[in-house]
Amino acid sequence: MLTILFDGFAYGMLLFILACGLAVTLGLMNFINLAHGAFAMAGGYLTVVLMNRYGVSFYLCLPAAFLVTALAGAVLERTLYVHLYDRNHLDQVLFSIGLVFMAVAAIDFVAGSQQQIIQLPASLRGRFEFFGVSVGVYRLFIIVICGLLTLALQLVSSRTRFGSQLRAAVDDPSVARGLGIRVSAIFAVTFAVGSGLAGLGGALGAEILGLDPTFPLKFMIYFLIVVAVGGTTTITGPFIASIILGVADVAGKYYLPDFGAFVIYTLMVAILIVRPEGLFARSAAR
């Protein structure tokens, strides 16, 4: 029971790191980016290639995955995404689905359709008992890393000048612009960091989530659930939604294995029917 909670928690943390970039993109520019998972996949594949072909250490691969996908995110944002901010949601959905299809086929072409395997370093393998709870070392590692990142994100958004500008821009982009905040520059940086985090999440999650070319499609729904349920105005909203989703998914697969992902889809639809703006939307709280 506690082990399930623990695994679910780790899974949820991972989902949060993967999805928080999407939450900010959606909250800041009202942009539905279905291609977010493609960045995560890019991070995962980069790690696989670096480790298996060039023998780079796993610990070095993680920051590399972050940096490279952040760079890719920044380039794509400046060249492609920037044209789509003032389009309607249908255009954005179509555009990002197009990107996903391209990414899936391209990865399939380059790396093949088989599942990729990452050989974790010995120090991260194995489990140990802790007060009767069986704890996987790698899952603990994920929780620590993601916990630190979450803390850092929270601090940046609440304590720094950049964070308050970001929050102002999320609340009302046009007023923020009127106050002299460079919203588009902020967005570029945030998009890059969000993509980078997705890449890092993809690298971390390759072991747990599995990595093959359909990754962006398979997990798109998970990221969207996090964002739709958690709302986009805070960091805590998506965080709590991720944890709920992670625990529910792991518990659902454990207790009702026949139903697979049925549990979380039902949970999501039920939540959205009751609270269409998400669990933690500020407009709903007012």
């Binding site: 309607n88 179509l94 299809f101 697979g260 992902a261 999501m268």
Partner: protein, 349 residues
């Protein structure tokens, strides 16, 4: 005096609506030779049939997307519901095609009605998630109840009787093509009549601005529920056609890529004038046929590239060419295209 003028105004309005709903002579010229295509391209019978089915599916999506402004990522749920209903009926001895058609359409419409209440509230994102989520739930259910649906193996053992006891489905695919084309044509006429009725006009008002439409006394929620139900039913018919003409149903009918594909079809053809779905289906299927002939495994890449290109160039500009071509069809896509950008964020209440 005004009491006398009023009925005549009503008459005029009704006549005007009927005129725009009726097929133009030119359109008969396009539709009538279509059945003969099978004799021209006998080797492409399968492809022709698929085009007709996809066109019907796209027309059904156009009803909610182009005329009511509902963005759905889960329209395949209804396609799949229709396909599985007809498939299960046929596998259990009820192989009459028309019975399957009626049952599949009704089942999908019922599902559409039941789920339509969930899409009335919330933002575009909420709607996307709910439609997608419902489709995924159906997929999981179909996978779970494999005793009934065949699960991942697909539903085998369907025996589809001859249509009305007369025309059996043969290997040349002729019957299938005539059958699918007839259903498509009937559904198209129905949809055409529907969007040019007072109901259809009020729906356009709802799409334009939901709040103002409500101020005019239009019961917006009821309109949306009604059109969603109809659209689901038509999508169900498309699913039935696929199940009956291929005599096979698999989980593929409920897959996400099917919902994405039909959106793409509609985007290629243009939304809001019904012919968009048909043009789009023709272009999409021919392109898929050609691309997958060249690069069997990676044709998705080109589809993705096309999507990105269409959006970046601008849907209005892209379909503008088709729109000008079809400018003399009712619905006047050229005019619609001109004002489409303004109707961008229509339903953010």
């Amino acid at each position: 005096m005004s009491g006398e003028a009023k009925p005549s105004t009503l008459e005029a309005a009704r006549a005007s609506l009927m005129r725009s709903a009726a097929l133009k002579p030119f359109e008969y010229l396009v539709w009538l030779p279509l059945p003969l295509l099978i004799f021209l391209f006998p080797s492409k019978a399968f492809l022709l049939n698929e085009i007709a089915i996809l066109a019907l599916f796209a027309v059904s999506l156009d009803l909610i997307l182009g005329f009511a402004g509902i963005v759905s990522l889960g329209h395949a749920a209804f396609f799949g519901a229709g396909a599985y209903t007809a498939g299960i009926l046929a596998a259990n001895g009820f192989g009459a095609p028309l019975l399957g058609l009626a049952a599949g359409g009704a089942a999908a419409a019922l599902l559409g009605f039941a789920t339509s209440f969930f899409i009335l509230r919330g933002s575009d994102l909420t709607r996307l998630m709910i439609t997608l989520g419902l489709q995924l739930i159906l997929l999981e259910l179909a996978n779970r109840f494999s005793g009934l649906t065949g699960g991942t193996d697909g539903l085998y053992g369907m025996t589809v009787d001859p249509i009305a006891g007369l025309f059996s489905f043969d290997l040349t695919g002729q019957t299938a093509w005539f059958y699918s084309l007839t259903v498509l044509f009937a559904a198209f006429l129905f949809a055409r009549r529907l969007v040019h009725s007072p109901f259809g006009r009020s729906l356009k008002a709802v799409k334009g601005n939901r709040r103002r439409a409500a101020f005019l006394g239009i019961d917006t929620n009821r309109r949306l529920v009604a059109i969603y139900t109809v659209s689901a039913g038509l999508a169900g018919l498309a699913g039935v056609l696929l199940a009956q003409t291929t005599q096979f149903v698999s989980l593929d009918v409920l897959d996400f890529h099917r919902s994405a594909e039909v959106l793409l079809v509609l985007v290629i053809g243009g939304t809001g004038y019904l012919y968009g779905g048909i043009f789009g289906a023709v272009i999409f299927k021919l392109m898929q046929d050609w691309l997958s002939g060249m690069t069997p495994q990676y044709w998705q890449f080109w589809i993705g590239l096309l999507l990105v290109a269409i959006v970046l160039v601008g849907r209005e500009r892209m379909t503008g060419g088709l729109g000008r071509l079809a400018a003399f069809l009712p619905g006047r896509p050229a005019r619609r295209a001109a004002k489409a950008p303004a109707a961008g964020g229509e339903d953010a209440p």
